[in-house]
């Protein structure tokens, strides 16, 4: 039996091979047509392109990303707990209850502060 990581690496190579071979076949078959500035311009529904699109963005997106990181780490901690939860019983439950309640408090704080509003 091969170790699990060999399987994961093989599937990584398989995925890259799948996409790469599709691109390679298309590279061989597709027409090479000369480029021009109008064709290469970003699509803006036929209007002349105005400025760059790398502009300042709404800060809301970053706020949600920050809240997400907190909850993602929470789930990372919960997962091993969930596996052994049945064997450990009440003590495990109460410990996780305290942990989740602290995080719920954080969510409540963000809610109260208006971080969850989208304007």
């Amino acid at each position: 039996m091969l170790p699990d990581y060999i399987y994961i690496m093989f599937f990584l190579a398989l995925g890259i091979g799948f996409v790469g071979s599709a691109f390679a076949v298309s590279w061989v078959l597709r027409p090479k047509v000369p480029e021009n500035a109008v064709k290469n311009a970003p699509y803006e529904c036929g209007e002349v392109v105005k400025g760059t699109s790398r502009v300042q963005f709404n800060v809301r997106y970053y706020l949600f990303a920050l809240i997400f990181v907190v909850f993602d780490v929470e789930i990372l901690f919960i997962t091993p707990w969930a596996v052994v939860f049945r064997q450990m019983g009440m003590i495990a439950y109460i410990e996780m209850l305290i942990f989740i309640l602290i995080l719920a408090l954080g969510l409540g704080y963000a809610w109260k502060k208006g971080a969850l509003e989208w304007q």
Binding site: L12, P42, F68
Partner: protein, 314 residues
């Protein structure tokens, strides 16, 4: 070693066939819901339409938009499609048809598929197109927001089964599917809603809202690169349905028919449900969508976790 090679080749074959079939199916279902015929020319009821389309996409020229971040732009299709292929490593098609039953199965699938958002954002950022950037930004915000209730409902199943292995979870449902237990039925509902958002489908398709953003993050892609986004989108739909089947609907278990058939019936049943929803419901607004994730689904799934945890240890 043979097992690995055969598994890999069948997974790639399955992904290509299933994506082509689902694109055709979606077009037919949408057509019949709207009282149209849909594709009818190529083959019986247009059944060869997807093959014709993929041949056409194979022959399209490659246009790199001016001002694009070329490296990021060309790597994005890889970041979108490769994780979806990798997720199939541990999907249990039947009792024996599984490439590798990883002991961290469900955690592996959940973490691998969340790489897709990186690819979508790279596509949006790299294109130097305002619609793409908006689509990528929205998609990132949406996927990370719905990831939280999605993972919390998966955790509930892990608590019930006491294992992360996909086969282990299926075997734990020998006595009855998890969807039949009230707390897990609720988790299933949350999972269905958030997985719809995870794969950017209606009613949560604002990242690629046609009427406001062109095609969203893949507006600037042509030919095979565009096709890869499509393959990833439909295969992602299969992956989330396969996870739902494994976690809540008893996986490959069922009477009479072999396991593979039961698994595929359940998976494609869920896919059809998602298509039905897509052509029935209108799109939600950005603020409604974010509010729903953080103020409704996340508190509800935390509550569900705490209450059913108490129920189990009581």
């Amino acid at each position: 070693m043979m097992n690995l090679l055969i598994g890999g080749i069948s997974v790639v074959g399955f992904i290509s066939l299933s994506a082509m079939f689902l694109i055709w199916l979606e077009r037919k279902i949408s057509a019949h819901i709207q009282n149209r015929m849909g594709p009818m020319i190529c083959g019986w009821h247009g059944s060869l339409q997807s093959i014709a389309d993929s041949l056409k996409l194979l022959l399209k020229e490659n246009i790199v938009p001016s001002g694009a971040d070329k490296l990021v732009w060309s790597l994005a299709p890889f970041f979108v499609t490769v994780p979806v292929v990798m997720a199939f490593l541990t999907v249990p098609f039947s009792k024996t048809l599984i490439v590798r039953d990883l002991n961290v199965g469900i955690l592996y699938v959940a973490s691998i598929t969340s790489i897709c958002v990186l690819g979508i954002f790279m596509a949006g950022w790299g294109s130097n197109n305002k619609y793409s950037l908006l689509g990528g930004m929205r998609s990132a915000a949406q996927i990370i927001s719905y990831e939280v209730p999605l993972l919390l409902s998966i955790v509930l199943v892990v608590m019930e089964a006491g294992t992360l292995s996909m086969q282990g979870i299926v075997q734990a449902q020998e006595q009855g599917w998890y969807v039949l237990k009230p707390n897990l039925a609720f988790a299933f509902l949350i999972y269905l809603i958030s997985s719809t958002a995870e794969v950017n489908r209606v009613p949560f398709d604002i990242p690629e809202a046609e009427s406001e953003l062109g095609a969203g993050y893949h507006t600037e892609y042509t030919g095979m690169k565009f096709a890869m986004f499509f393959v990833a989108e439909y295969t992602n739909l299969v992956v989330v349905s396969a996870i739902a089947t494994t976690l809540f609907l008893g996986g490959w278990q069922g009477p009479l028919l072999p396991g593979l058939f039961w698994f595929l019936i359940k998976v494609y049943g869920l896919v059809c449900l998602s298509m039905w929803v897509r052509w029935t419901l209108p799109r939600v607004r950005m603020d409604q969508m974010m509010t729903f994730a953080w103020k409704v689904l996340t508190p509800l799934s935390i509550l569900n976790l705490l209450v059913s945890g108490w129920w189990m240890v009581r």
